[in-house]
């Protein structure tokens, strides 16, 4: 049992990512605000639809239109229309302190049970004049904070933000497993041990399996957020498909040799080149090309910036480690079968 600790760890981390990743609720968020185009000098009753929030008449609710860091416009009256629906009355002044006209403003909702939440750039206000002097400074008041663990609410993504723990670790695990297979390929070329070649074969098989799972889950996710199963304008998606095709060719290459040693040698060399091709395809080109729908491309990696907050990191990194270990487990199982097959063949001869 001691020997198998890493398998227990891998399965445990994947289980943890499933349980925590699915059970932690999303933070409250604003689904839509109507009307969203306002005219300076008029009064409006904004209807605000929210997600994962429960409002009641007992707690006072503040609603602000946030102009900038120092300035905000508070709602004169807030009415609860339903559990998740609010109506906020705003008197829009004739003057705004901004330099730009028709600026897109954020809306902030603040109450005790749900905590404060913001919808950036949700309201546009058209006003006739800009006047910093006449504007009465009215900053956002103190905001409630809730201690509950939540995942961030993002419009368009909504609950699918959880896919970060299932779709992305596939690619992490695939990359690591391909790198390990390259290590064994080089080892094969040095030692010429046929068993090492079988290790490479089982690792690449599992890597391709993980890659296809990443591709198909990504396709499903794309359908819900980008509106299409597959798009050729999305660079990372297509580069990943190309990288997987390169790896599929590895198996075709293997099967085209009858001579065992030749097969092992050429496929080991091919595997090194396939990995060298995969790295720019997945990690360089999507970052160089600026128009990518994937987060973090055309610049910094997604996991470094705002795309992953601290609560998500608590699930994401265990999921990555869990899937790497699971992938290695699958590969060792396959390798043991190949090894037995090989030994049996050896005995026959």
């Amino acid at each position: 049992m001691i020997k198998h600790w890493w398998k227990v760890l891998g399965a445990g981390l994947v289980l943890y990512s499933l349980i925590v990743g699915l059970s932690v609720p999303l933070k409250s968020g604003v689904l839509d605000v109507s009307p969203s185009m306002l005219q300076g000098g008029k009064s409006y009753d904004l209807i605000i639809n929210t997600y994962n929030a429960t409002f009641s008449d007992e707690n006072p609710i503040d609603v602000w239109i946030k102009v900038d860091d120092d300035n905000a416009l508070a709602a004169r009256a807030v009415k609860v229309l339903g559990e998740t629906k609010l109506s906020a009355h705003f008197d829009i002044p004739n003057y705004f302190p901004n330099e730009k006209e028709n600026w897109a403003y954020s809306i902030i909702i603040n109450d005790k049970t749900n905590g404060a939440f913001i919808r950036p750039r949700s309201i546009a206000v058209k006003f006739d004049q800009i006047n910093k002097e006449i504007w009465k400074n009215n900053p956002v008041g103190s905001l409630y904070k809730i201690d509950k663990m939540t995942f961030p609410f993002r419009s368009v993504l909504y609950e699918t933000i959880r896919n970060t723990y299932y779709h992305v670790p596939m690619w992490f695990a695939m990359t690591i497993i391909f790198l390990v297979s390259v290590f064994y390929s080089i080892k094969y070329l040095r030692k010429k041990d046929p068993l090492v070649d079988l290790k490479v074969r089982s690792l690449t098989t599992v890597g391709v399996l993980l890659g296809f799972m990443g591709l198909i889950t990504g396709s499903l996710w794309a359908r819900s957020t980008w509106g299409t199963w597959w798009t050729f304008s999305e660079i990372k998606m297509n580069m990943a498909a190309i990288a997987l095709l390169i790896y599929l060719a590895y198996f075709v290459l293997r099967n085209s040799f009858d001579d065992e040693e030749k097969r092992a040698k050429i496929s080991a060399v091919y595997n090194v080149f396939a990995c060298m091709a995969m790295i720019p395809l997945l990690f360089v080109i999507p970052r160089v090309v600026t128009s990518s729908l994937h987060p973090g491309n055309g610049g910094n990696p997604a996991i470094g910036g705002e795309d992953l907050d601290n609560t998500m990191r608590m699930v994401f990194y265990p999921a990555v480690i869990g899937w790497i270990l699971m992938g290695i487990w699958l590969a060792t199982l396959l390798y043991r079968v190949y090894k037995i097959e090989y030994k049996l063949l050896d005995d026959d001869v």
Binding site: F212, I340, L344
Partner: protein
């Protein structure tokens, strides 16, 4: 050849699942904050592992037949 066949089956099964999803209109995607997408993703990963297990079982079976422990 086995692994290629396995991958092709894998692809085929998933594509057919995706299309059967598509037939049920967009509604299923956008209900309940798109939680069904997450379920779909987990199901796809689960199916992938099941297919891996099936192919592994077939390999083991072949070995069993070879050493005649099945009789």
């Amino acid at each position: 050849m086995k692994s290629i066949k396995f991958l092709l089956t894998f692809l085929f099964v998933h594509i057919s699942i995706l299309f059967s999803f598509a037939a049920e209109t967009d509604d299923i995607f956008f209900r309940s904050g798109k939680i069904y997408i997450v379920i779909g993703v987990i199901v796809i990963i689960f199916i992938g592992i099941i297919l891996f297990l099936i192919s592994l079982e077939r390999k083991v079976k072949r070995l069993e037949n070879q050493i005649n422990i099945n009789e």
